[in-house]
Amino acid sequence: MLELRNLSKTYASGHPVLERLSWTFRAGEFVAIMGDSGVGKSTLLNLIAGLDQPDAAPDAASILLNGAAMSSLDDDAATRLRRARMGFIFQAFHVLPHLTLRQNVALPLLLNGLPDGRAGEMLGAVGLKGREHDYPHQLSGGEMQRVAIARALVHRPALVLADEPTGNLDPETAHAILQLLQTEIRASGACTIMVTHSPAAAAMADRVLRLTKQGLYETTAVNSGSQ
């Protein structure tokens, strides 16, 4: 479904962060990526999203989403692809403060020129039925992340990218949010890649990968991760 081939990334300072990384993610699976701070987890998500470009390598580095090469897309095409096929969940929620909850959730639908009826349905699915006309300042952190999950999934993306989605939440709320995320991505069938430092969060995933300077490898020992 999503294939990374020989992916390398060097920061502008000349510091190499990812070197010849290859991996295949399957449709519908929920994958957690753990690793030390600064090892390149968020950079990897940005590359997958097309928000950053991998190094131009002689051995044809590429990112293939359902067989289509994303790394060769120009900015406009990458924008269109993100809009239609991807959903994002961020640590700091990134909910727009001047829009109601329904308007926030409906944004991906509007950007894709789709009817916004499913926005209310998604708010109901994440436990915020009846609060469509509330504003983000009326919500707790956990509720805001629920809105962010609804927004990430409302347009039925093929790929969901989550960057530390529970990093700003207390353990109890984090657990509830992860259960909700797990349920919703199972229902949507989207492939989900979650970057996290939290072993508890990683334990909810189907597969746990560890990113190191040597590359990505699968692990089951989530509790040995850095905190």
């Binding site: 924008t79 269109r80 692809l81 993100r82 991807m86 994002f88 990134h94 001047h98 950007l111 894709n112």
Partner: protein, 266 residues
């Protein structure tokens, strides 16, 4: 039980540049007084006080004939219209310049547009009016354009700074979700800065009411032009009516603007 005494950590060392700046400032103020021919003593002589009181007495009572009041009301409307239209044009011009001025199209356009904004706002309204009077002739059009030119420079700079200082995450989030740069700007950054921009606009409108009244003195219409006319003919009661109209207009606009800014920041 007495709490243990914890001494405060030492304060940060004072920078010598702060002291040097303070001393230089005081020297500048002293030098200004020393070099200007300020004749304070002559200003307060009995003769000077007497002639000032006599001059002020000439303003009482203000002219209250209905014909003159109607003319004053028309000039008040003209001043209000000049300030409102000048501010509106400045908002449009300022906004158009603020977008490249906030670095949205790169560093070179940013520097170029900021230089233009500097020029626009460095030239005072009176100078703009004097220049535009030559091109557009006497009347409120030149005054309106003078206000628009100067205020576009001020608002353009303030709007550009507001856009640059807006939190970048909402816009980045929308870009990540596949919004075009324009959609991300209109949905995320502009709504964040809009209350601040409206507040700046209202404040500049207050300033422009006062400026519009003064611009009339150089022939740009409105209350200022009436004031200059009646003062030059020594028709002090009529001049007093015009001054009262100016005060009332400024007070009214100040009150409206204050109420609107409070409502916006609530």
């Amino acid at each position: 039980m007495k709490a243990a005494h914890n001494p405060m950590p030492p304060p940060p060392p004072h920078s010598w540049s702060g002291w040097a700046f303070g001393i230089a400032l005081i020297a500048l103020v002293v030098a200004s007084f020393a070099t200007l021919p300020l004749k304070w003593a002559e200003f307060f002589t009995p003769d000077a006080v007497h002639s000032t009181l006599e001059f002020l007495h000439g303003f009482v009572p203000p002219e209250s004939g209905s014909g003159f009041l109607r003319k004053t009301a028309i000039a008040t409307g003209e001043t209000l219209a000049m300030s409102a239209l000048g501010t509106l044009l400045a908002v449009l011009g300022g906004m158009l310049l603020a977008i490249p001025g906030a670095g949205r199209f790169g560093r070179v356009p940013r520097a170029a547009v900021r230089a233009v904004l500097n020029v626009l706002r460095s030239i005072p309204e009176l100078v703009w009016a004097s220049i535009l009077l030559i091109a557009a002739g006497l009347g409120p059009f030149a005054g309106t354009m003078a206000l628009a030119a100067h205020t576009a420079g001020v608002l353009g700079r303030l709007f550009a700074d507001a856009l640059e200082n807006a939190a970048p995450l909402p816009e980045q989030s929308l870009r990540s979700n596949g919004a075009t740069p324009m959609a991300a700007f209109f949905y995320a950054t502009l709504p964040q800065t809009l209350p601040q921009m409206l507040s700046y606009t209202l404040y500049r409108w207050e300033n422009n009411i006062r400026a519009a009244a003064i611009l009339g003195v150089v022939g740009a219409g409105g209350l200022g032009q009436m004031l200059k006319y009646h003062l030059s003919l020594f028709q002090m009661p009529r001049a007093a009516t015009v001054v009262i109209a100016m005060l009332l207009l400024v007070a009214l606009v100040d009150a409206v603007s204050f109420a609107m800014r409070r409502a916006l920041t609530r």
